[in-house]
């Protein structure tokens, strides 16, 4: 959560509404934010899902514990779910990777509006990095295309 707070201004500037969610209430969120020094810089909204229904919608609700697994989801301004990452209780998420995926979404949605169907390969990190465009010349020649 502190790692997320470190990049919250970048996410906001790039047009993302960041909301953290647990099955705690908003009142507990307040108390935790007030007590925990790690959360001192948090600006993002802390969402309450005491019924677990939002967690169920995203498939992260653990019926045995009543808690949500560590899931991160990116939804476009049109309301389409583009990415999901879910980790078990004992592993944190890499916020740099979340930022990379968000940046790739922004890039791809802009390109799609320009009529381009290019894609971001696994090593894509930022604008200017190699992208791939599906087509007959790519069939069996992805290796060569990545070298260009």
């Amino acid at each position: 959560m502190a790692a997320l707070a470190e990049q919250q201004d970048r996410f906001a500037k790039m047009g993302a509404e960041l909301i953290t969610v647990s099955t705690d209430t908003e009142f507990v969120h307040l108390a935790w934010k007030r007590d925990e020094k790690e959360l001192a810089d948090v600006k993002y909204a802390m969402g309450a899902d005491p019924t677990g229904n939002l967690s169920r919608l995203f498939g992260v609700y653990d019926e045995n514990t009543g808690l949500a697994l560590r899931g991160a989801f990116i939804i476009s301004p049109e309301g389409v779910l583009f990415n999901s990452e879910v980790n078990f209780y004992n592993m944190g998420r890499n916020i740099d990777e979340l930022m990379r995926k968000f940046k790739a979404n922004l890039y791809l949605s802009r390109k799609a509006k320009e009529g381009s169907d290019e894609g971001c390969p696994s090593k894509w990190k930022d604008e200017g990095d190699k992208t791939l465009r599906p087509g007959p010349e790519m069939v069996g020649r992805v290796h060569e295309a990545l070298q260009d």
Binding site: G15, A16, M46, G47, A68, G71
Partner: protein, 56 residues
């Protein structure tokens, strides 16, 4: 739960939702809905975690 909740899939539209939030910036409580965020033309990033007062 009165009805089954169907898990949203990648590439599919997310049904509208609303949730109560604590807003640290103005030290108050509020609401966030997907519909409102979409109306502002913004992306939504949801970040689930197990519980307050634990390591996250």
């Amino acid at each position: 739960m009165s009805e089954e909740i169907t898990q949203v899939k990648i590439g599919q539209p997310v049904p509208d939702f609303e949730l109560a939030v604590y807003e640290p910036e103005n030290h108050g409580f509020g609401k966030r809905s997907l519909a409102d965020i979409k109306k502002e033309g913004k992306w939504t990033i949801l970040f689930f975690y197990p519980a307050d007062f634990t390591f996250v």
